[in-house]
Amino acid sequence: MHPRTEMLDLVVVEGHAKGVVVRNLSTGEITTHAADAVILATGGYGNVFYLSTNAMGCNVMAAFRAHKRGAFMANPCYTQIHPTCIPVSGDYQSKLTLMSESLRNDGRIWVPKSAEDAQAIREGKKTGADIPEDERDYYLERKYPSFGNLCPRDIASRAAKECCDEGRGVATTGLGVFLDFEDAIKRDGEDAIRARYGNLFQMYEKIVDENPYKRPMMIYPAVHYTMGGLWVDYNLMSNLPGLHVLGEANFSDHGANRLGASALMQGLADGYFVIPSTIAVYLAEQKPGAVTTSHPEFKKVENEVKDRLKSLMDIKGTKSVDSFHRELGLLVWDKCGMARDRAGLEEALERIPEIRHEFWTNVRIPGSSSGLNSELEKAGRVADFIEFAEVLCHDALAREESCGGHFRTEHQFTEADEEVQDGTTQTGEAKRHDDHYQYVAAWEHTEPGQPPNLHKEELIFEEVKPSIRSYK
């Protein structure tokens, strides 16, 4: 075990992934490690948005280092925004907390019908209880009568955003909707609800300081999971031979929109059942121990890693790493969050290089690179998030359709569409363009600062044909 050890680069020997360069976070020591194959199980890139339900340490560094060494980054624009998170309370906020999806089994989601009532709630002049039943808009039940509060995550999230955009949000920031257990408590009793969700209600009360048994919870969507990731084949090997990628770090399994509980399933499947068998396919063609750290490539990559750390330490600018991360996160959330459009994405693609430039000339990292230095750790991760954000926005810009976790406002159903007129779907729903975009977008790194190269893996559906989703 190597606790407090971070992978800072991948070593590629004659086109094969054969090792890693790591930093001991406690001592600052840089070491190289050779292997017959490399497995990355390094998680998703949700923290590119700064605020997410991910842990603070989650980052894209290992995957992005591999990307810069040749591994393709697939479908990064598929990001999942989870509908049931505790709303943001202030600009000091460091992370968002997920309230389990299971709450939607018994909770009813609503906002006031009128923006005036919503404003009164935001200003503390009214509470949810003051709004009579016929003045409440149970918008998911209204729009999706057969699925109601249990409709899929992307739909529930976008519907919440729409209500808040209309000025009907109820949290102090205006970005929040009610998740109300009043009816469930009346029906089943408080004890039954406590037995089902007691730990979640307790968690909510700790954070928000309100009793959700008495007052409706407030929730708002937040970044939760990233379906995109490094491209892998059926053996979980990337296009870079020897590099295997497992779990959220890869792009496989979830398509454009992950369903509930399947992240755990993927972790177990990839780790327990798939890779123990499939890695043998690669290993069978390798001579065990053929590459050692004495290969010159290890020293070369080690020196590159050391140079990068030194450049970061030498900047000695004026702004903290977190301030760059927050700025980047807010930009990506605004332009490439729940709803995206061409103008916004182009704006982001202009702004991100500016942030990158400012970061590399004006970030301030106190302390030294020997020993524990949390600012230096974060700086390396944020530097990669900034570059990764460009790949993310390029992917979102190139995918001229709405699909799962990627919603382009230009591509939604309107009254003019046949599918709306015949009742298959309704206005405002995501519109795919399968004739042009039925492919995995696998991006290849080119030069620093240059757009990535697109490779397409066509998706062929033989048994089940994609159709238009309908939750009416």
Binding site: P3, M56, S89, G90, S94, K95, F273, P366, E375
Partner: protein
């Protein structure tokens, strides 16, 4: 939103070998809805602006499940709030003008790495000496292949709630790790899958615990009082019983 002005007395220590000291910082205009760790973020942002090194502390999930955060706040690991990790503590629990003392978890087996960060790898080594079940990888067994009585499953689940933060050690005057070790052993020992390795588990984990320099349990129950997951000290009694029978079998085998 109400804002607090606080005085922090914080343990600063450059590395494991250097001598530590208490430094005083003003934490100004802290929103009451901020979490304790966000309060330190705010202070750190100002320290960085002033060209100083920020206060180092362990943290990750910030929702009470990963076990990384580890501060002793006004003398109590994770603060005096019951069933709460440091990251789940909010500033509304403090009064304007208050002075807050913040120290790392103290124990010989948890050496300070820097400031409030301690090395708790001793726990990893205890887990590696028996806190697992050996299973082969391969196809998944059917979920109902092994039936487990609800009471056993519930007890095992309560024990499994341990996040391995080490507050139990920091709170104990003997720096005993018995609540942690017993929770981890009890979790597996209550389940049918854990039976075949039960003896080697308890012997291995207890021996490793002693080797790491944790003290003995003298039934003070400080551990139970500070445990953010409110794990019962009754698991310690269970570990003692399992250890006794495992030792007896070990001595005659």
């Amino acid at each position: 939103m109400p804002l607090l002005n606080l005085t922090l007395k914080v343990w600063r220590q450059e590395n494991a070998k250097s001598e530590g000291r208490i430094e005083t910082y003003e934490a100004k205009e802290i929103p009451t809805s901020a979490s304790f760790l966000e309060m330190i973020d705010i202070v750190n942002e100002r320290l960085i602006q002033d060209g100083e090194e920020p206060i180092h502390f362990d943290h990750d999930c910030r929702e009470g499940i990963c076990g990384m955060c580890s501060m002793t706040i006004n003398g109590v690991p994770h603060s005096k709030e019951r069933g709460t990790t440091t990251c789940q503590l909010h500033m509304r629990k403090f009064d304007d003008g208050e002075t807050i003392c913040i120290e790392p978890f103290r124990a010989n087996a948890f050496p300070v790495v820097k400031d409030l960060v301690t090395n708790r790898s001793a726990f990893d080594r205890i887990i590696a000496s028996g806190g697992y079940i050996s299973v082969r990888t391969g196809s998944a067994p059917d979920a109902h292949a092994i039936q487990i009585p609800k009471a056993d499953a519930d007890t095992a689940f309560d024990a499994a709630a341990c996040i391995g933060c080490g507050a139990c050690v920091a709170a104990c005057k003997n720096a005993s790790a018995m609540l942690f070790v017993s929770a981890k052993a009890s979790h597996l020992n209550h389940l049918p899958q854990g039976q075949s390795e039960k003896d080697q588990r308890v012997l291995g984990m207890v021996r490793q615990m002693d080797e790491e320099g944790f003290g003995n349990c003298t039934n003070q129950f400080e551990c139970e009082a500070v445990c953010p997951k409110e794990i019962s000290a009754s698991h310690i009694a269970k570990l003692n019983r399992d250890y006794l029978s495992a030792s007896a079998r070990d001595s005659v085998s």
